[in-house]
C-alpha cells in the first residue's frame, strides 16, 4: 500500500482496513444494493504480478480449451488497467524461446485489443443486435428475462448450475464455460443474449461490454455467420467429465446427441444463409472454429 495516503475529508472512503472482512463490511454499508460477497480473487498489482509470473505460453497453447488448462486468469487485471496489454505482451516475450511458443497467447491479446477497437467503433451500439439471428427464430422469440432457475442455479444440470455457482462466488469463469453457458441460454432456453450478457456483467470481475457482449452475440449469431452450439461430448471432454459424473440429469441430458441432431432440434432452417463472403464476421467464425480460438473458446470438433 503506498505511503502517500492523501488527507481525508468527509465523504472520502477509507483506505485502511484491518482485514479483508473489514472491506467487505464497508462495502455492505456503502453499497447496500450490491449483492453477494467479495471474490476470493484479489485485486491489486501484487495479485496481478503473481498471475503474470505463472504465465506458461506453451502449456496455454496446448491446453487452454480445457477447464483445467493453463489459462492465465489475467483478464480482470487487464480489463481494469492494472496491467496493460503491452506489459503482458512484453512479459510473454520475455518467457518464450521462440515465436511459436507464444503465438496463441499473443493472438489472444490481439483479440482483446480488437474488441476494444470494435467498442470504440460501435460505442453504445454494442448493446444492440449487430445482425439478424441466423437461427431461424425471430429476435422476439427470445425471452428478455433471465429464468429464475438459471439465476438461482437450480436447473438440475450439474454443469450449468456449477458454472453459475462459480460465476456468483468468484466472478470469473473459464472462457469455454462462458461459451457453453451462453449457447445453452440462447439456443436451448431461448433467452435473448442481452439478458445473459447483462447477468454476466453483474458478476464478472473482467466484465467488459466489448468482449462480453460481442462474444454473446457471436454465440447467438447476431455477430457471426451462424450460431455456436456444442454437445455433451464436447463439454464432457473439456471438463474431464467432472460435471457429467453424478449429474442428476445425466440420463436426460439436453446436450446429448450429434451436432446434426442438435442443429435440427434447436434451429429452424432458413431459406438462405448469407454466404456471400460479405458477412463481417464470417472470417472470424471460420477462423475461430477451426483454430479453437480462446476468445471464443471453440473446441467444436469437426463433424
Amino acid at each position: 500500500m503506498p505511503s502517500a495516503a492523501p488527507p481525508s475529508i468527509n465523504g472520502d472512503l477509507p483506505r485502511q482496513f484491518a482485514s479483508r472482512d473489514a472491506l467487505n463490511t464497508l462495502l455492505a454499508q456503502e453499497f447496500p444494493e450490491a449483492e453477494g460477497e467479495l471474490s476470493p480473487i484479489r485485486g491489486g498489482r501484487e495479485a496481478a504480478d503473481e498471475k503474470l509470473r505463472r504465465i506458461d505460453a506453451r502449456r496455454y497453447a496446448k491446453s487452454r480449451n480445457n477447464l483445467k488448462g493453463a489459462v492465465t486468469g489475467l483478464s480482470p487485471y487487464i480489463r481494469h488497467g492494472v496491467l496493460t496489454l503491452a506489459e503482458v505482451r512484453d512479459s510473454v516475450f520475455a518467457r518464450i524461446r521462440n515465436r511459436d511458443e507464444g503465438g496463441k497467447l499473443i493472438n489472444e491479446l490481439g483479440w482483446r485489443d480488437f474488441w476494444q477497437r470494435m467498442w470504440l467503433d460501435l460505442g453504445d451500439g454494442i448493446n444492440n443486435d449487430q445482425e439478424p439471428f441466423k437461427t431461424g427464430h425471430d429476435a422476439g422469440a427470445y425471452s428478455r428475462e433471465l429464468p429464475t432457475d438459471v439465476r438461482d442455479g437450480t436447473t438440475g444440470l450439474a454443469c450449468m448450475d456449477g458454472f453459475r455457482d462459480q460465476l456468483i462466488t468468484t466472478g470469473w469463469l473459464h472462457n469455454h464455460a462462458r461459451m457453453w453457458m451462453a449457447a445453452w441460454l440462447v439456443h436451448w432456453r431461448r433467452v435473448h443474449w442481452k439478458a445473459g450478457a447483462d447477468w454476466f456483467m453483474q458478476h464478472l470481475l473482467d466484465g467488459d461490454p466489448a468482449s462480453n457482449h460481442l462474444s454473446w452475440q457471436w454465440v447467438a449469431s447476431t455477430f457471426s455467420h451462424k450460431p455456436y452450439f456444442f454437445n455433451r461430448g464436447n463439454l464432457e471432454r473439456y471438463s474431464d467429465g467432472s460435471y457429467c459424473d453424478g449429474c442428476p440429469c445425466a440420463k436426460s441430458c439436453p446436450f446429448e446427441g450429434s451436432y446434426e441432431q442438435l442443429e435440427n432440434q434447436l434451429f429452424t432452417p432458413i431459406p438462405t444463409i448469407p454466404d456471400s463472403g460479405k458477412s463481417r464476421n464470417q472470417q472470424r467464425n471460420r477462423q475461430s472454429r477451426s483454430s479453437g480460438g480462446a476468445s471464443a473458446a471453440l473446441a467444436r470438433p469437426k463433424r
Partner: protein, 146 residues
Amino acid sequence: MTFQRPILWIHEEALGANNPALQAWPEAPAVFVFDTRWIQDAKISRKRLGFLYENALNLPLTLRKGDVAAEVLAFARRHQADGVVSSSAVDPRLKRIGEAIDAELPLGLLDPEAFVELPRPPRLGRFSRYWREAEAVVWKGYSPAC
C-alpha cells in the same frame, strides 16, 4: 497541456501504476469515484466493487462515491485545481463523464501505452483483417533471448 495545478481523475479502465496521468503528474492529487448510478442500474455485485477497491488502494488516490463528474469537480475545487487530467477511455459512459467534467473545467486526456501502434487505423469487422495488419507489428518487439 498547460495546467499548473491539475487533479487527476482515475477511472475503471486504468487502475494501474502505469496510468499515463499518474505518470505525467505523480504529485497531483488523484481521485477515483464509484459511479453509484452505474452500480445501481447495472446491478453490479459486491465482488466487482471489492476488486475495483483493492486495485484503487494500490494507487495514491482518494476514493469517493456518487455522481462521478460532480465528485471529480468537487475534488478539483477542494484542491483549487485549474484542470483535470485523465487517461483516455473506451467506454462511452466514461467518455460522457469526461465531457461533463470538461464542460466545467478543462479536461486533458493522455493515451495509455498501446498494444500495437499501427501506421493507419486497421480495418475492423473481422479479426483476421485486423490481425493481418497488426500481428507483424506486434512481433517486431520480440527478439529471442538466445
